[in-house]
Each structure stands twice: as C-alpha cells, then as structure tokens.
Symmetry: C2
Subunit: 573 residues, 2 copies
C-alpha cells in the first residue's frame, strides 16, 4: 500500500485554476504566500505518505472495538494520529491566538484531501475536531475558548458532533435529548445519540462532545434546540482532564467500511455541559460549522477516490494479461487496453474536476473571511452542496471503477481496492445525504433567484468565449452546456411548488457539476497552452463526459407529477 501525495496537482490548481495568490494578497492571509503554501503542501504530503498510509489497511482489518466501556482504536492509529497532531495539521486554519496556524482553509482542504487519500478512517477524527474548533471560535465564551481551543488545536483532545438520534436523522428537529440548567452556569444533558463518529478513542486524553439538546422551554422543532459542549472528562482547575462525566459509549456500529473509525451510540445521563451560543439557537451555531464540514466531507470523497485511483493505476501498470494493442510500443500491461484506459482516464478527470471545485469553494470561503465580500459568501454558499455531493459521488464512482480495473482481484479484500469502495460509501450519506445537499441547492441556495448561479455562469461563458480561437469545439461545448444550465436554473427558480424542484434536484446538482468540471478542465487546457496531458484530459472530459448534462438537465426539469402518479402500492407490485 503506497500513497503518493498529489502536491503537483495542488500546485497546478493553485497557480492556474483557482488563483491562490488572491488569498495571499489579503491582509488576513498575508503570511501564507505561495512559497509558504508550497512548503506546507510538501510537508503535509510527506506526512501522509510516511505516517498515515501505513495504518490504512490496519484500520480495516482490525476495527476499533469497545472494551469495558472504552474504545480501543486500530493498530498504528495512535502513531499516525500523533504525526497529524504534532505537525499542527489539525489546527492549521485555526486562530493563532489559541495555537492555530491561521492558514487559509484552501490549504487545509488540500491537506485534508491528502490525509483522506492516505487513511480516511483516521482522518475523520481531526475533521470532526476541526468542525468543533470552528464552532467554538464563533460561538463559545472567551473562557471556554481559552480552556478548550488550545487542547483541540494541539490534538491533545478530540472533538465530536452529536446530532443524530434514532428517530431524528435528517429531521434533526425531532430530537428528544434534553438539557436542564444546573444553576451554576452548567447544564445537565441527557439523551441517546447515534452515528457519533469517533465517539470515543484511546488516543487523545479527552473527547469533547458538541451535543444538540432541548431546554425545558425549548420549542418543538429546530427552533427550540440548543448546543452544549460536554467533555468526557471535566477539566479541573488547571484545565487538565478531571472527573469522568456522566456519559458513555453504549456500543459501536458494524459498518460496511470505515472500520477504523469508531461509530458510537452515545448515552448522556445528566452529563455536565456548557452552552455554546444562545439558548434555542443551537442549530444556527451548528450550521456555522456544518457548511465547512460539508466541504470537508466532499474532500473526503475525492481524497478516498484518489487513493483508489492510485491503487488501480499501479495495478494496471503491473498486471500483464494477453496481447495489448500497442504491442512493443506499449507497456504490455493492462493499462494499454482501451477500456482500461477509458476507466483510468475518467477517474483522473473526475478527481481533477472535484478537486478544482473543492479548492474553488475553499478560496471563496477564505476570500469571504478575509474581505467580508458578499459575493464571495454567495459563491461559497452555492458551491458547498455541489462540492459535498459531487466530491462524494466521485469517490464512489472512482473506487467502483478501481475495483473494475483490478478484475477478479478487485473483489478480494487483500488487494485493498474494495476497501476504498466500502470506506467512501458513507460520505454520500453523512453530513446531510446527497439528496439533502441537492435540495439545499435548489431550495435555499436559489432563494437569490439564481443570482449566484448566474454570476458563476457568466464566468464560465466568458472563459469559454475567450478560448474559442484556441479550442473552437471544446469552447462551444462548454458554452452551450452553460446555456443549458442557465435555462435549467431559470426553470428551477420559476417553480413555485418545491416538489417540482426536489424531484430533479440530484440530477440537477450532478449536471451542474458536469458543467463546472468542464469549465475547470478547459481552464487547465488553456493554462497548458493547448498542448499536453491536461489538454487531453480536458478533451476527454468535455467530449465524453460533459454530454451527460443533457440527460441530467432533462431529468432535472421533469417535475414531481410523474413521481407521485405512482402510489407506494404501485411500487411494491
């Protein structure tokens, strides 16, 4: 199992696709200039290759287990985690006042991508902590910040998010966990939460839970929910882990994949907690971090896909089978068969597109943070569900193709190809299913009447126009697909009945990603001067994959009536 860090890809994307220099030109990120960014990518890449990848298989083969109420993590995970923590990678975008590096999220995205490729199960732990750091930075009192942030940023303590309950999954507002005021500034939190990623571990000295619960006077639904910080060990006067809190891990789930990540059922039994943010406004506080968590999960998807791609390519370069069409001009290995090339090239194209989108979103967030500019905020809001859903669908597709490239060996667990498929599958589900992402895109994110989408389309079309001399066919294809997208956005915002939007939301999102991906690839071909491997990838993407947008937008505009014409009984017969 080898993983090779994709630092070159990031460098190209920074320099030629997303315009990283804009970020470094802001006052906030002045210290994160280009050479600094390169150094960060190189160092993080080396850490992923040397320290994370080696325990990737161990996480699958020796899942985390619950023993006497305590989670024992997979072999090697403690050392791998130590490398992440000691490198400062958990808090790389966090506030320097509390020990963070204050780097742009764009760099964190690149590092999270590499960590996900090297060891997805383990990377989920710091990803959760990063979300908690962000929530505390925005919503905690100064006292709590001073107590918790340094420990979370250093990785001495880990963070979790406790939203879901058995009866309240996508419908968070249905939760029944309760909190009552202890009268001393703390609250007693009670309830059972499920699907808590890294709900416990034996690596960090404390585990800090962010828990959604309802105060006695909290209204029903999402508007009556508050957010609490509930540590496993209550910090003592010196800020060290003290008394054990009244919470426990009830059980760990047996999952299709991601075995190295302990997914816990958590029970809070009058556990001591501290409120984060205002009473009844827990969902708002949660959403602050949820957006970046969605970016983070999209990046998990594409990162895992990168791991699967590298594994498949390695196999295709080593496996000899029959006579390849290139004869003596070829490698003699299966990489030279046309259908294997087709699969590998599609994998590479999708990963590039997903990575370009994730970094574009990260830049938008960084620019919004640094400048407060509303248009960057709107861009970030628009791209978030696309990056989450397309990034994770890319991970699923690429790892599926990775198994196929391996042939029979792909189905054998020792090969390692199947693990990527099994691990990445959940990314399309957690942090809001991809269906919910798509509903967000056609609902909340179109409340501006499509304005943010239209502004992005203007950029896409302007770029396509500017490339007409160099690439007449590709430019026309991208321009025309953008027009089709424009019409579909117009159709969406015109629908008064949200069900008509929702009925086509997922195909719409995927079609949007197809057009955006084509734009990114065209940009890469232009940057390359119209000749070279990136230009060939652009041709593949635009000539072979982009045409899918037609069917995607047809389905996007098909409306809800046809779905409800069938009764549940009809579906069952």
């Amino acid at each position: 199992m080898t993983y090779r860090a994709t630092t070159d890809d990031f460098q190209f994307l920074f320099d030629h696709i997303i315009g990283y220099s804009d970020i470094a030109e802001t006052e906030l990120f002045a210290e994160a200039a280009g050479d600094m960014a390169t150094a960060v990518l190189t160092e993080a890449g080396k850490m992923c290759e040397d320290k994370l990848a080696p325990s990737h298989r161990d996480g699958d083969l020796t899942p985390a287990v619950l023993e006497n109420g305590v989670v024992r993590t997979s072999p090697g995970f403690a050392d791998s985690y130590a490398a992440i923590a000691e490198g400062g990678w958990i808090g790389m975008a966090a506030d320097p006042e509390y020990g963070g590096m204050g780097l742009p999220l764009t760099l964190q995205t690149a590092v999270n991508d590499m960590m996900s490729a090297a060891n997805l199960s383990l990377q989920l732990c710091p990803l959760m902590t990063q979300g908690q750091i962000e929530a505390l930075e925005h919503h905690a009192t100064d006292e709590l910040k001073a107590l918790y942030l340094p420990k979370l940023i250093s990785g001495e303590w880990a963070g979790t998010m406790n939203l879901t309950e058995a009866q309240a999954g996508s419908d968070v507002g249905a939760l029944s966990s309760k909190a009552s005021d202890n009268g001393d500034g703390t609250y007693a939190v009670s309830g059972q939460k499920i699907f808590i990623s890294w709900g416990d571990n034996d690596i960090t000295e404390n585990v800090c839970h962010l828990v959604l619960a309802r105060l006695p006077d909290g209204a029903a639904g999402t508007k009556g929910i508050s957010l609490f910080l509930v540590p496993k060990f209550i910090p003592d006067a010196d800020g060290n882990p003290g008394e054990k809190n009244d919470l426990r891990v009830v059980s760990l789930e047996h999952k299709m994949g991601l075995h190295g990540s302990p997914t816990a059922v958590m029970s809070f039994e009058g556990a001591k907690g501290w409120m984060i943010g205002e009473p009844h406004k827990g969902m708002a506080a949660m959403f602050t971090m949820m957006n970046n968590a969605r970016l983070g999960v999209g990046v998990q998807g594409l990162g895992a896909g990168e791991g699967a791609y590298q594994k498949a390519l390695e196999y295709a370069l080593e496996r000899k089978q029959g006579r390849t069409p290139l004869g003596e001009d070829g490698t003699g290995m299966i990489v030279d068969f046309a259908d294997v090339r087709r699969m590998l090239t599609q994998m590479r194209c999708e990963l590039f597109a997903a990575r370009a989108m994730a970094l574009s979103l990260s830049k938008a967030i960084d620019m919004a943070t640094a400048t407060g500019d509303e248009s960057w905020k709107a861009r970030a809001a628009l791209l978030t569900p696309i990056v989450k859903a397309y990034g994770t669908e890319t991970g699923i597709l690429v790892s599926h193709l990775g198994v196929q490239v391996h042939g029979g060996m792909g189905f054998i667990e020792e090969t390692g190809a199947a693990q990527y498929c099994r691990d990445v599958r959940v990314t399309a589900i957690y942090e809001g299913t991809n269906g919910i992402q798509a509903m967000d895109l056609v609902g909340r994110k179109m409340m501006d009447g499509g304005d943010a989408a239209f502004r992005l389309l203007e950029e896409i079309e302007a770029q396509a126009e500017s490339a007409r001399a160099m690439f007449p066919n590709m430019s026309e294809a991208v321009w025309s697909a953008a027009e089709d997208l424009r019409e579909t956005v117009e159709w969406m915002v015109e629908q008064g009945d949200m069900q008509d939007r929702f009925a086509g939301a997922v195909p719409f999102l995927m079609g949007f990603a197809r057009v955006l991906g084509a734009h990114m690839h065209l940009k890469a071909a232009i940057a390359e001067g119209g000749k070279g491997p990136r230009t060939e990838l652009a041709r593949f993407h635009i000539n072979r994959l982009l045409p899918e947008h037609t069917a995607q937008f047809a389905q996007a505009r098909a409306g809800a009536a046809g779905l409800y014409a069938l009764s549940p009984e009809d579906l069952a017969s």
Copy 2:
C-alpha cells in the same frame, strides 16, 4: 429479511412482453404451456421465500470456511440447498432422459432470478452445476452422461468450472495447467486454479470439476486447451463416490461480499480426469456453456438488485422522518419524499428493463433450440453480452441506491442493505468482465455487419411507430433513440481499427440497453392500454433515463486516439 417472489412481474412479462406462448407452441416445449409455467413460477417463488431467503444473512455473517482441507458451508445453507435440489430446480431445463424437467430456459431464468434475489451466495452453487450439466449434455460421452448427469441434475453432486489461473484471468489462453494421457481412457490433470466458485462444499456428496488444461501436444494459446471432468471422489463401480481424487482446496478467498459462496484456490495434483469433447477443443466446449452462464450471471445481478429494491422499499414505507410533502394524503413515511420516490422509481424501472431483456434472451435461446432458426441464434448471441453487463450493472446501481434510501442505516451491516452491494459487485467481473462483454458486443457480435442489431432495431422502430397515436411523445423519443443507436451501430461496423470500437464499447453497450429498456417499457405501457402503473414507469424511463443514450453514444463514437494521447506516465502525474 423478507423476500417476496416477483411472480406477477414474470407473468406480465411472459404474457405481454416476451410472448412466452411462442415457446409453448414449439414441439420441444409443448408440455410447458402457460398454466404449467404459472404453476412452476408459483412453486419456485414459494421455495425462494420460505427456504432460501432465511439463510441469506447467515451466508454473510458466517462465511464458508476451510477446516482441515474441507469446506464448511454457512449455517442453513444445507437445508436451503436441499429445497432447491428436491424441488428439481437445478435440472429444470435439463434433459428428461437423465432426470431433468426439460423445461424452457425462459422458466429457468425466472427461477434463477428469484433464487438470486433470495440468496445470491447459495444460488451460485446450482448455477455452476447448471453450466456443467449443459456442457456434459453437449460434449460428454454417453457413458459419462449416464454416470454424472443424474447426480448433477438431482443435486446430489455439484459442478464447478475451473478456468482461471493466477497469470491467466481474462487471458484464458495463458493457462499452464497440464493433462497427460493415463492410457486407460483417463488423464492426469495438474495445475493450480483460482477463483473457483463453490470449489468445495460439505452439502453434496461429490463435487465435479470441469478443468481447462493443456495436453503435451497442445498448442500455445486458446487453441491448445482441452476440457476435463475431474471429480472430487472417483465414482466406483456402482456410480457412487469412491476413492478420493488427487485434488485439494488450498485456501478460500476473503471477499468483499458473497461470503456464503466458498471461492477456492484449487490444486490438481495428477488428479484423474475424463476428457470432455475433442482434444484441444476445450475452449469451444467451454463456450457452449459460457453463453448461458453469462445470461445466468446477468440474472444474478438483476436478482440481487430485486432483493435490494424490496429491502429499500420496505424501509421507505416504514421510516418516518420529518413532514412529507403529501401531508395527510401520504403515508407520512419517507417514501413520500420526491427524491426517495425518484430513487425507488428508477430502481423499479431498471429492474423491469433488465428482467425483460433477460427473458427475451432466454426466449431467443429456447426458440433457437426448439426451431434451429438462425435468426433466433443471432438474436441470442447479440443479447447475451448486453444482458450480462446491463443486468449486473443494474444490480450494482440498484443496490447502491438501496443503501442511499436507507440513509445512515444503509451503512450499518445489521440493516442488510450493504450486503446486496457487496455481494453483487463481483457479477460485473466474473464470467467475463463487463468490459469484455462490451468488446464481444462490438467485436464478434458485429461480425455480421450489424445485421442482428439492425433487425432488432426494426422491431423497436416498428413498435414505436405503432404506438404514435397512443403515446406521441414517448413513441417519438424511442424511435429517435433507436435511430441514434442505428447510426452508432453503423459507426461501429465501419471502424477498421478495433481499438476505436473498444474505446467506446462499454458506453455503447449501456446505451444499447437504455434504448432496449425504453422499448420494453413502451411495450408494457401499450399492453396496459396507456393508463396505469406500468405506463407511469414507462414515462419515467423514457422521459428521465432514456435521454442518457445521447451521451452514451457520443462516448461510444469518440474513438481510441484520445485515450492513447495520454501516456501511462501522464496518468500517473
């Protein structure tokens, strides 16, 4: 875990889509009239519900293991297998002279579909035996037939196929197993074979291996390979299992799924074997059964998909989450959310299309067998790779969507949704990867200059024409897609360089299946008189899924140059 037999679907397909009565009108199948077919489907369906489904999960949770050189199968499998054997379902299409029922393959396909849905791991055992029965019927001496067929048909003995070696997967001709003449009518077979499904078991009293090996004077490549029947226990004078043969199970694979099916590495160490067919013509004998085995695997895919679909629908009808858009008019369950409806409806549409294709192929084989008509043979040859690849891709897609419908619960193994995904994955790989199916379709199956495809297209277009009054839009969509397919077939047969065909072979096959699926759905809508659930499914398929053919055929015609413009080094960087 409940499975409900899809007998109604088969009845509709028999009566209105494939025209089952044509089969019963032939002399060969005169006894298999409509009411007999209905009785068979009903009885087999009940067996699948009552006897196969109960051990489905056990196969996953308690995989087959190798203990002291003997395979111990999963709990419950022996009883489930006994129900299959005692019902006569293994030999239902086999020669009555040796105890078979002599029923049409079309009925066997329906029963195999149900058995796959109920318990895929177990069903693979009789599927292998069915292949062996067919090979022996066509190529064995009368003496061997009399000895082996009654035992295989009754299920007392099981059959396996031993093709693959570590260095010879898709390239069977590279195998190195050897056979030498013992001078007494038997041969000594030596070599190591991998990926042997049901390579051993503790259920049947004997296991009969069909083994490809090379005689000393066999040429290199596929033309020097012979086929041998090598039993685990050599039949004694009374035809009962006698002396243990010189073969053994070396190990069992740890697989992504299909845990209940023991996948063995087999070692033949001068084992006694009997030649089947002519020396050096083992591949031809193997191909006789391989075609039907490909149909069988396509049916495995769609059957497993049916199991996944039923599980997802059941969950969607039971799971309450938030406020569904239908309010008091709806069920209140997640089945009423537009995106869940979209997923379930697509699952149902794909399964219907795949089932219709598998049964059409089966009918073509039955008609060819019964009448010797060349056009039925050509139809069967054309449809075989399509049914194998589209059936298995459907199983993969449907089980993937099944997990998504379950949300977080889909990733938890106890739910059972993930098992379908893991189990079905291999069907796109074994019995010739789907890439190889697609190469067969654009290669060997187009050696008639596209004739068989054009004749099918004439039927599709004629039907679309005839439905213009009833369904103007759907008819036009199907007609126009058929024209696009026609142009793509023409493009394929015009390509002198096979790499240009192979580069787009998989998208071509999938596009072909899209058009054929739309044709089947349109036929169903016509049969329903233009109003009802099957008409709504047709609308969904034709309006929302069929448009994908445009992109599929664009990719089909994109040629190989773009793939080879990238070097392996380009892919790696």
